[in-house]
């Protein structure tokens, strides 16, 4: 299945891209997507834990099942206000 991955702020800088379409095995969960990214981007691999994630514009738990067409983003520490 295909998932749309978005990168923001410091994560965009680390990944060197702001958006990509990614093929993941059926049954993949949010945490699996993070593991795939961390295996590619050394800065991500260095994180002590998975950052907060959003699926289709809502916060999502690490064990959330992904579906074809989902929009997924891992979120750097927010700093609005």
């Amino acid at each position: 299945m295909n998932v749309k991955l978005l990168y923001f702020a410091s994560f965009r800088d680390k990944a060197g891209r702001d958006e990509e379409s990614r093929v993941l095995p059926e049954g993949s969960r949010v945490r699996d997507a993070w593991a795939a990214l961390a295996s590619e981007v050394p800065d991500f691999a260095a994180f002590p834990a998975m950052p907060p994630a959003a699926v289709n514009l809502e916060y999502a738990a690490p064990d959330r099942l992904l579906r074809d067409g989902d929009e997924l983003a891992f979120l750097p520490p927010v700093a609005g206000g």
Binding site: L6, F8, A9, S10, D13, D43, A46, F47, P48, P51, A54, L57, E58, Y59, A73, L75, P76, P77, V78, A79, G80, G81
Partner: protein, 143 residues
């Protein structure tokens, strides 16, 4: 729409809110010329736009459930801001001041912890950093 690229006219928000009754509590965040001892020249807010709009809407709906008599307006600026610019305005209108204060404070506190907006500070020495209030991720980066 809770996000705007245009300057926030906090005064206009207050004028509008005054039309309704009771007490109005307003919070306006203003870009400072320093942070943690470093001189800043400006900042840039980046948002995950559609999610930020949705999160603020959920936040406002949550406040309305908790304080049915309070009306809350929120406006957050994105893009490049100069020192002295308003970054965010929260206006809470209620029949009684306790609720106005409580809802206003809760709104800005939750906004700062849940809404996907990021801030890059530009320093006088020419460097810049993404601000990490949690200090959880990596060391400050320079460019």
């Amino acid at each position: 729409m809770y996000l705007t690229r245009d300057p926030i006219d906090a005064a206009a928000l207050v004028s509008r809110a005054r039309a309704c009754d009771g007490g109005v509590c307003v919070f306006v965040g203003v870009v400072r010329d320093h942070n943690e001892g470093r001189a800043t020249t400006g900042i840039e807010y980046e948002a995950y736009g559609p999610m930020a709009e949705a999160e603020i809407r959920r936040l406002v709906n949550g406040l309305a459930e908790r304080w049915p008599q309070v009306r809350v307006e929120i406006l957050h600026r994105v893009g490049r801001l100069a020192i002295g610019d308003a970054s965010v305005a929260v206006v809470a209108t209620a029949p009684h001041r306790a609720e106005a204060f409580a809802a206003c404070r809760e709104a800005i506190d939750r906004l700062k912890t849940t809404v996907p907006i990021w801030k890059k500070e530009f320093y006088r020495d020419g460097t810049s950093d993404w601000v990490d209030p949690t200090r959880m991720h990596a060391a400050p980066r320079e460019r």
